[in-house]
């Protein structure tokens, strides 16, 4: 029970938008943690701290300083450069030295880093960020508003080789970031966006703040603002970092971080078991090898990552939504989560609104397996005995096994699925319509990594003009709702539109999303305080040895 005086104190914090969230909290519709996350989103950055919300691991700050944390990562696929980075191993390396305006912490939401506070104007088209004063790059230069603006201008410039361009499409264009004064930066957006702080946070992993004169040679000195700085780097072998004694925040506990690149995950887990590593990425196969072993811990964070099944709405047999719904109804989501994902996932409801997004409308009924209803719908559409169809997908993660499960579920309603499992790069092809099995296949499964907001899923995979719209879904009602969602400024308004979108997508079923996975890492029991995000950032500054 929350006392009335507490609620009044909360109300005093900010304006109407905030008060809607406070009302929801008072009414029991919004958890305290979500209220705090929301406070951060609208820029009430001091609020979380005033509520005694520590950083995860902050309690461990009293842990013993010293020691070397030894990390195993995959092999980076190309030169490490924050601007063009795409692979998990490189993100793991970059997160030792590079920082963002905001960190999207999996537990506590948006945490101010190089930005101290932020706010939007009434239209949510202009966002202003106050920078943390006195922050220094590892080369001794002070971070200025000019560096911040240059960092974003680089990312939205097609000529820079930035891999973040698709994330900023329709949100931020060249010339949108502006210096207001030495410690203030403003962003004029392409359209209203209430979730913009996520776009300058670690969610867009390229958005590391780099010096304005950065020339693309990151591997030379790994010059960032983070708690560690470069000691040595050997391409294809690994890197080591030492504590940055000039760091603006709490100094890192470990003396050193030693990273080794591995081509083979088996070798990685063996090195961990032999005591030669403290932290490695996790896969379901590796989890089996340390299961029940007290020397290791499996740490997980819930993510919005999912494997998206697309049904091409413009091609037989999926032109009729009843057929699409029928296939979706054959799937037993709980069985998939328990069996395939070893319960390290939550059930999805065929829309990108993962339950971890505060704007998701959780009152929309959950779709469950119903073979009788599936058969009825097939009969209604004139194919009572089912139909044959090919499912094309990639050989990656658990996807081939998931494809076999879908094949078996579909059989129950008479739908005869043939599998066509391709190597990952062949599946993506040139990633453009007309020359990509991913975007051209009748029925396919694609892996999507974690995002802090549903925006990019909603825009890129479902909007009629979306670049990743493999379902070829073209629904004016949906596109209109998407505009409303972008304009919705408070949580209540966002959730109202989200509910409509979720209902529409359940009815139309251009996608099947059975689960949202957790993201895990395996660590030695000897270390405490390992933190990470669901998109491969590895935060080791609070690690201590027990």
């Amino acid at each position: 029970m929350t006392k009335r005086s507490d609620i009044d104190a909360l109300r005093a914090q900010s304006g109407d938008i905030w008060n809607v969230a406070v009302d929801e909290y008072a009414g029991g519709y919004l958890k305290r943690r979500d209220l705090l996350k929301y406070a951060a989103l609208i820029g009430l950055t001091g609020f979380a701290a005033s509520q005694g919300l520590g950083f995860p691991g902050r309690a461990l700050a009293a842990g013993k300083a010293g020691g070397t944390v030894r990390v195993g990562l995959g092999q980076p696929t190309k030169a490490i450069d924050p601007v063009s980075v795409t692979d998990p191993a490189s993100i793991g390396v970059i997160s030792q030295v590079g920082e963002y305006l905001i960190l999207d912490d999996p537990k506590d939401g948006l945490q101010p880093k190089l930005a101290l506070s932020w706010e939007a104007d009434e239209t949510a088209k202009r966002w202003t960020f106050k920078l943390r004063p006195g922050v220094k790059f590892h080369d001794g230069r002070t971070v200025t508003a000019g560096d911040v603006v240059a960092s974003f201008e680089r990312l939205v410039d097609p000529a820079s080789g930035s891999s973040a361009l698709s994330a900023y499409k329709g949100i931020l264009s060249k010339g949108g970031a502006k210096v207001v004064d030495d410690e203030t930066v403003a962003f004029d957006l392409d359209g209203p966006n209430s979730n913009f702080p996520f776009y300058v946070s670690s969610d867009v992993y390229n958005a590391v703040i780099l010096p304005a004169d950065y020339a693309g040679d990151f591997e030379k000195n790994f010059n960032g603002t983070g708690p560690f700085k470069l000691e040595s780097f050997r391409a294809k072998q690994g890197a080591s970092f030492v504590r940055n004694t000039d760091y603006w925040g709490d100094k890192a506990l470990p003396d050193r971080i030693e990273i080794k690149f591995f081509d083979d995950e088996q070798a990685q887990v063996l090195a961990l078991q032999a005591g030669q590593l403290d932290v490695i990425p996790s896969t379901p196969r590796l989890e089996l090898s340390i299961d029940g072993n007290p020397n290791f811990k499996l740490l997980s964070v819930q993510a919005s990552s999912h494997d998206q099944v697309h049904l091409r709405t413009d091609q037989a047999p999926f032109t009729d939504k009843r057929i699409r719904r029928a296939l979706a109804l054959t799937i037993d989501r709980e069985a998939v989560v328990k069996g395939l994902l070893k319960a390290r996932a939550i059930v999805g409801n065929d829309t990108p609104f993962a339950p971890i997004f505060p704007s998701a409308d959780t009152s929309v009924p959950q779709r469950k397996q119903d073979i009788a209803e599936a058969k009825r719908l097939l009969g209604e559409d004139g194919v009572p005995n089912g139909f044959p169809v090919t499912l094309t997908t990639e050989r990656a993660y658990d996807i081939p096994d998931y494809a076999v499960l879908i094949q078996n579920f579909a059989k129950k309603a008479g739908i005869d699925i043939k599998l066509n499992v391709l190597p990952q790069d062949a599946y993506y092809g040139s990633a453009t319509f007309g020359s990509s099995p991913w975007l051209d296949s009748n029925l396919g499964i694609t892996d999507f990594g974690h995002r802090g907001t549903p925006d990019i899923f909603l825009n890129a995979t479902l909007k009629s003009s979306g670049a990743w719209n493999a379902a070829h879904f073209n629904d004016p009602a949906y596109d209109a709702l998407l505009l409303d969602y972008g304009k919705a400024r408070d949580l209540q308004a966002q959730r109202l539109v989200a509910g409509k979108i979720q209902t529409l997508l359940l009815d139309e079923t251009p996608l099947i999303i059975s689960y949202f996975s957790q993201y895990s890492r395996i660590v030695s029991s000897k270390v405490e305080g390992v933190r990470f995000t669901a998109i491969s950032h590895l935060l080791l500054d609070r690690v201590s040895f027990v």
Partner: protein, 319 residues
């Protein structure tokens, strides 16, 4: 004079082979799905950014133009910059050859005494129990794939017994012996795999030499058995074995992709595999050409050794 002619012809055919291989690699690169810009920026990157990157890297030019750009530089010894690593190709390739050579060296140091020794013992005891045991264990070990034996060896000697490090890469500044020690475990799967084969080759040579007229003559001359074996049998019996070892070196330098990946050794096989995955053509071309050159040269060295060791062939080369 004949030897010079022979070597010139060999060198000419080597260059022709390399030129054809370079064309083949370029052509094969064109039929792979995706392009370098797409691979570098990932499937979710914006098409405009991908097109811009391809333009900057020259990957949007017609294939013949791209090939000519590459070729005209390559004949001057400039293999260009790696697209993925944004640095000159040559140091990467040289480093990978160094790593692969070190591994191949350790393999040969362990393999030759084991394979040849077992083969000689089996050949001298043909038909007896020891012979059968050697042949049978050789065949059994040869059918175990290297990734299986590699993993088993890692688990037993690296994890349980901790005799060897899990990783095949010695720390910076390690000396000759330390580097060798780090490579013993990665070498063992190949040693076990090839030992049976080398032993069978040696055994066959020994049996053939033991039955030959010159051996009988030597025995009748009253030479003791050890002298007969060392001076007459082994010299003749080892000729095919040496030729086989020479031709295997190509494979040992460029074909150990699985072992290199398992033990984290950035050798030539690994380099070529990753370059192909990343559509990194300058790196791929350089890696494959080096590999092709090693294969052709090691075959040539094998022929030459065989010619030098076998009097019948020696006459054929110099006539």
């Amino acid at each position: 004079m004949a030897v010079v002619r022979h070597l010139t012809a060999r060198a000419g055919s080597l260059l022709l082979t390399l030129w054809l291989v370079s064309i083949l690699v370029f052509w094969a690169g064109q039929v792979l799905p995706g392009d370098v810009g797409r691979v570098m920026l990932g499937p979710f990157a914006d098409a405009q950014a991908v097109a811009e990157l391809n333009r900057r890297l020259g990957a949007d030019q017609p294939i013949l133009v791209q090939y000519w750009h590459w070729f005209s530089k390559a004949i001057t010894g400039d293999f260009g910059d790696s697209l993925a690593m944004r640095a000159p190709v040559a140091p990467f390739v040289l480093e990978s050859i160094r790593k692969s050579s070190a591994l191949a060296g350790v393999i040969l140091v362990l393999l030759v005494p084991l394979g040849v020794g077992a083969g000689v013992i089996a050949g001298l005891n043909a038909g007896r129990l020891v012979d059968r045991l050697i042949v049978l264990s050789g065949v059994s070990l040869a059918i175990v794939p290297d990734f299986v034996s590699g993993l088993l060896l890692l688990i037993v000697f690296g994890l349980w017994l901790s005799w060897f490090p899990i990783n095949g890469v010695a720390p910076d500044g390690a000396g000759f012996w330390t580097n060798g020690y780090y490579l013993i475990l990665p070498a063992l799967p190949l040693v076990l795999n090839l030992a049976g084969y080398i032993a069978r080759m040696t055994r066959a040579g020994v049996i053939e030499a033991m039955a030959a007229d010159y051996t009988r003559t030597a025995v009748l001359k009253g030479l003791d058995r050890r002298e007969v074996v060392v001076r007459h049998v082994l010299r003749n019996a080892l000729t095919p074995t040496i030729a086989v070892l020479a031709t295997q070196s190509g494979y040992l330098l460029g074909g150990l992709v699985v072992i290199e990946a398992l033990f984290g050794i950035q050798g030539l096989g690994n380099l070529v595999l990753n370059a192909a995955r990343g559509r990194d053509f300058p790196m791929l071309e350089a890696g494959v050409l080096v590999m092709a050159a090693i294969f052709v040269l090691s075959a040539a060295v094998g022929d030459l050794l065989q010619a030098l060791l076998d009097p019948r062939q020696r006459r054929r080369v110099s006539s």
